[in-house]
């Protein structure tokens, strides 16, 4: 995985200086999630790798890390998907196209597509964890011929929480990727004809060559232990597994200490980790 401690946009007078990102488009999903399309000055590309994140500053409110959800194969503005949970994210949800935010990054090490060249990939996404994985999923779909069999498993709490519904439909209907989904439960006022149950209940249904498939996982902290157990039972070697982990972050540059896992910093050594690297780190909790 590429480690990038030197971000493209921290070349100002100091490393904490952002550039202006113009919100050009937003899109709400039925849950508390909203997609933001952001354009950099002079139409410049963010130059990110799937799985990397940016630090987004809402002037006067705060700063928080968000994974880039669009694939670098898509030229022009980049996209973030943001769940309203606190001060920064709620302020963001009140913003509209034409508003400006501060952007610094991209930070961290992402998924290096070259590593997976010619190989099969299974994506396992839980909830908002689909946001970072979507960048890599769309990358593999846009450069389909470079990769082997593709499979995606997506689980969230309830149907209304699903992100990117039209894209999910394309994934389900297209023949470029096998797509499986589940919801923990379906409240009575919502419609759902797929399976219900936690994500681990559908994982055994995927039909992959466990010995050779790469598995890319991102979801809420509780998900990892169970998903990893399941993968182990299926016979997936640890070497084939990549995890994107979340921690509290302030600097994004390996300094502030908030994101530390043993001697690793999630902001620079991750958020994407090769599983063997964090498997024996006690603080990783995986």
């Amino acid at each position: 995985m590429r480690s990038s401690t030197t971000a493209k946009f921290d070349i100002g007078e100091n490393e904490y200086q952002p550039v202006n990102g113009l919100i050009t488009r937003t899109r709400s999903f039925t849950g508390a999630d909203k997609l933001f399309e952001i354009q950099l000055p002079d139409g410049e590309e963010l130059g990110h790798q799937p799985g990397q994140f940016v630090q987004l500053l809402v002037p006067g409110v705060g700063e928080a890390p968000f994974s880039v959800t669009s694939s670098p194969t898509k030229p022009g503005p980049f996209e973030l998907t943001i769940r309203a949970v606190g001060n920064v994210t709620r302020a963001l949800h009140n913003m509209e196209p034409g508003d400006t935010v501060g952007i610094r990054g991209p930070y961290g090490s992402g998924f290096d597509p070259d590593v997976f060249e010619g190989e099969d990939i299974l994506f396992i996404a839980g909830g908002i964890g689909l946001a970072p994985l979507r960048s890599m999923i769309n990358y593999t779909l846009d450069e389909r011929e470079r990769f082997g069999e593709l499979t995606t498993v997506y689980g969230c709490k309830e149907p209304a929480e699903q992100l990117y519904p039209d894209e999910l439909e394309e994934w389900a209907e297209g023949d470029e990727m096998t797509y499986l989904e589940t919801v923990d439960q379906c409240p009575q006022d919502q419609e759902w004809d797929g399976p219900t149950g936690v994500i681990t209940s559908v994982i055994p249904e995927v039909d992959i060559d466990v010995e050779t498939s790469n598995v890319l996982v991102c979801g809420p902290p509780v998900m990892y232990t169970f998903v990893l157990q399941e993968l182990d039972e299926m016979g997936v070697p640890d070497e084939n597994i990549y995890l994107s982990l979340e921690r509290n972050m302030h600097c994004g540059r390996g300094l502030c200490g908030h994101c530390q896992i043993n001697e690793l910093y999630v902001c620079t050594d991750g958020p994407v980790f090769h599983y063997p690297v964090v498997r024996d780190k006690q603080e990783a909790e995986v």
């Binding site: 949970v85 001697e263 909790e285």
Partner: protein
């Protein structure tokens, strides 16, 4: 090595106070404690102190500092980096604090450039002083930081009527230019060596029962020793004071502040600490170190194992500040390290 008469040294500091573009700060006796503070005259200096409440880190990485300013011009934000070159002349730094600053330099300048720190550090002049007294909670000799031959521009040793001065940098040499100094005699050089090798180590009441080189392994072996961590942290109030006073702790949080009634504001950073409850919490009610015992364990693992793995330094220089400032009287690293060592010994038998 040079030698300067004490009155001449005081005259030099007084001259710098009036002429140097930087503030001249140093160790003063504020009645109850020793502190690094502004100097009005060299007479304020108390160079025979035991330990200061805060280390000179506070000048290089202030407790709160603005790192960025913004102005909102109709939705177009103008971001302005803030890193004033407000370096200082700092007089009277003990060797262990110089070692701590060297550790910070390695991270904030050499490895991950941090402009707000770099500007202040590179514009500062550090005048060290060999210890004449030690606090009862210090154990710097055990950590190998009671003396140092690097990290300073100038290093003083009190020889009674005079100071012996070791010159560490060209800037230090130039700082002395206007003063009347002479070359040290062979006897004076020997005396400084004797002080560093015999007098200073004797100042410490506390000591480690093993070599600090073993610390990473000892900590690693006690990671799962939850009974120890729980027992040890039982009385802790999670106030974070032990983090805040530590010269090698550098964790921080970043806050955005709007200047009320204006269209401008700033981003500032402040010291933060892993003992504080929310330090590792994220959205969704997840806290990666929810229990106080886990936070304590992290503090020591970080100091003696994680930072060592990453940068090759033990991030505890044995100043004892955390011990003396802890209201619950539980922060003592020397005690913790020794007990962990005993745990390992007991298991080996």
């Amino acid at each position: 090595m040079k030698v300067i008469d004490k009155p001449e040294f005081e005259a030099l500091i007084d001259e710098k106070i009036s002429s140097d573009r930087r503030d001249v700060v140093g160790v003063r006796d504020d009645g109850e404690k020793y502190v690094f503070d502004d100097l009005e005259s060299a007479g304020d200096l108390a160079l025979d102190y035991d330990v200061t409440m805060l280390s000179p880190k506070k000048y290089l990485m202030p407790q709160r500092e603005t790192i960025l300013e913004y102005r909102d011009a109709n939705g177009e934000f103008e971001w302005r980096a803030k890193a004033e070159p407000d370096g200082k002349v700092i007089v009277g730094i003990h060797p262990y604090d110089l070692v701590a600053i060297e550790q910070l330099d390695k991270i904030f300048i050499d490895t991950l450039r941090d402009e707000p720190y770099r500007r202040k550090r590179e514009n500062s002049l550090l005048i060290g002083v060999n210890m004449q007294d030690a606090s009862e909670t210090a154990f710097a000799a055990s950590m190998g930081t009671a003396t140092t031959d690097s990290g300073y521009d100038l290093m003083l040793t009190d020889l009674g009527e005079t100071y012996a001065v070791n010159i560490g940098t060209l800037e230090g040499k130039e700082f002395l230019n206007s003063a009347d100094v002479r070359k040290a005699t062979a006897g004076e050089v020997q005396e400084v060596e004797r002080i560093e090798q015999e007098v200073v180590p004797d100042l410490f009441e506390r000591e480690l029962e093993f070599s600090p080189a073993l610390l990473p392994t000892i900590l690693e072996e006690n990671y799962d020793n939850m009974a120890f961590w729980e027992d040890y942290s039982e009385k802790c109030l999670s106030c974070g004071t032990c983090n805040m006073v530590c010269p090698t702790c550098y964790c921080f949080s970043v806050d955005m502040i709007r200047d009320l009634g204006t269209n401008s504001g700033r981003e500032s950073r402040r010291w933060d600490g892993c003992l504080l409850e929310d330090f590792a919490s994220v959205a969704g009610d997840e806290n990666f170190r929810e229990e106080v015992a886990e936070r304590h364990r992290h503090r020591f693992m970080r100091k003696g194992w994680y930072i060592y793995e990453r940068y090759g330094d033990i991030a505890c220089i044995g100043c004892g500040r955390c011990t003396s400032e802890c209201v619950a009287d539980v922060a003592d690293p020397c005690d913790v390290y020794n007990k962990l060592y005993q745990e390992v010994q007991a298991h080996a038998q």
